[in-house]
């Protein structure tokens, strides 16, 4: 069997108040407090100094924290040029949670005060911008909206980006948040297997592999 050209070197999953990094439980919060409190608590516990964190909308906070853990606050992608790292994300709810909050600021014509800080987050790809600003990334990027997490699509698209651009590593995955603040986020760091590394990745870059990590089948097997 031919060795695969790409593999998942790291992944991070945030859902149900838990953070799983590369199959290990990093944090599990008690089920009290709301989603914004959970994010702030995680940021204060693990976050690097990044004042802008508090200004972001909830989708961006979720995505930034997932990215922070995925790339170990940047150290895992230091070997790459800033132009050679692509970001390919998707979700089902776009920026709906922020859209709804922005709508509240313009719903009453007698109190019509559009909130600029909310308005700038009324697109899901702003999350990609936040990741790029924090980690100074300038590679390819795209944000898809689909009904369900279609990991095969993300794989096919990512492989095309690898093959048709100078991209050497891709941050890809699913960062979703609905207007009731139900959330789930899983990001994968996908790298080219150049044959020089002595480390073999435990996860192949396939839809099945990504689905298993997303549905935590790997954890069920180890428990």
């Amino acid at each position: 069997m031919e060795p695969s050209e790409f593999s998942i070197s790291h992944y991070c999953l945030i859902k149900n108040r838990r953070i799983i990094l590369n199959g290990e439980k990093l944090i599990e919060e008690e089920a009290h407090g709301d989603f914004p409190s959970f994010l702030s608590s995680v940021y204060k516990t693990f976050g690097s100094e990044y004042t802008k964190f508090y200004k972001m909308d909830l989708l961006s906070k979720l995505g930034i924290l997932t990215t922070d853990f995925l790339i170990d606050f940047g150290s895992r992608i230091k070997k790459y040029n800033e132009n050679d790292i692509a970001i390919i994300l998707a979700n089902s709810q776009s920026s709906l949670e922020t859209d709804a909050r922005f709508l509240e600021t313009i719903a009453d014509e007698n109190k019509y005060y559009p909130n600029p800080a909310l308005f700038v987050y009324t697109l899901p790809n702003v999350l990609i911008g936040e990741i790029c600003i924090k980690y100074k990334l300038k590679g390819e990027s795209v944000f898809f909206v689909s009904q369900t997490a279609d990991f095969d699509f993300l794989r096919i698209y990512s492989e095309n980006v690898f093959r048709n651009t100078k991209t050497k590593a891709i941050i890809t995955g699913w960062v979703d948040l609905d207007f009731k603040q139900n959330y789930e986020s899983i990001l994968f760091l996908v790298e080219k297997n150049d044959g020089s590394s002595t480390d073999s990745s435990p996860w192949s870059f396939t839809a099945t592999s990504m689905e298993d990590l997303y549905f935590e089948k790997n954890l069920e097997e180890s428990e």
Binding site: S40, T51, Y54, K55, K111, Y113, P114, N115, P116, A117, V120
Partner: protein, 83 residues
């Protein structure tokens, strides 16, 4: 004007999501933009909205806005002079 300055600091922290700051961290004369608090252009727009919504004050001239929004003290002075 001291009460107004104290109120403005609380409003700015809430409105601009400066959760890592307390009112005591903001100096009355400190520049809000650039080297001071480091606010950005979106923050400037948010401040303009706060002044309109909370104090009925509209800033139409961007050049004038630079001077008005320079610090907490200049904002308070402008509100006092124009209310």
């Amino acid at each position: 004007m001291e009460n107004l300055i104290a109120k403005l600091k609380v409003q700015i922290i809430e409105e601009l999501s400066l959760e890592d700051l307390t009112p005591e961290d903001i100096q009355d004369d400190e520049p809000l933009f650039g080297e001071g608090l480091g606010l950005d252009s979106i923050d400037a727009l948010s401040l303009v909205v706060v002044l309109d919504r909370e104090y009925g004050i509209q800033i139409d001239d961007p050049e004038q806005g630079k001077d008005i929004l320079y610090s907490i003290k200049t904002i308070a002075q402008y509100i006092t002079d124009n209310k």
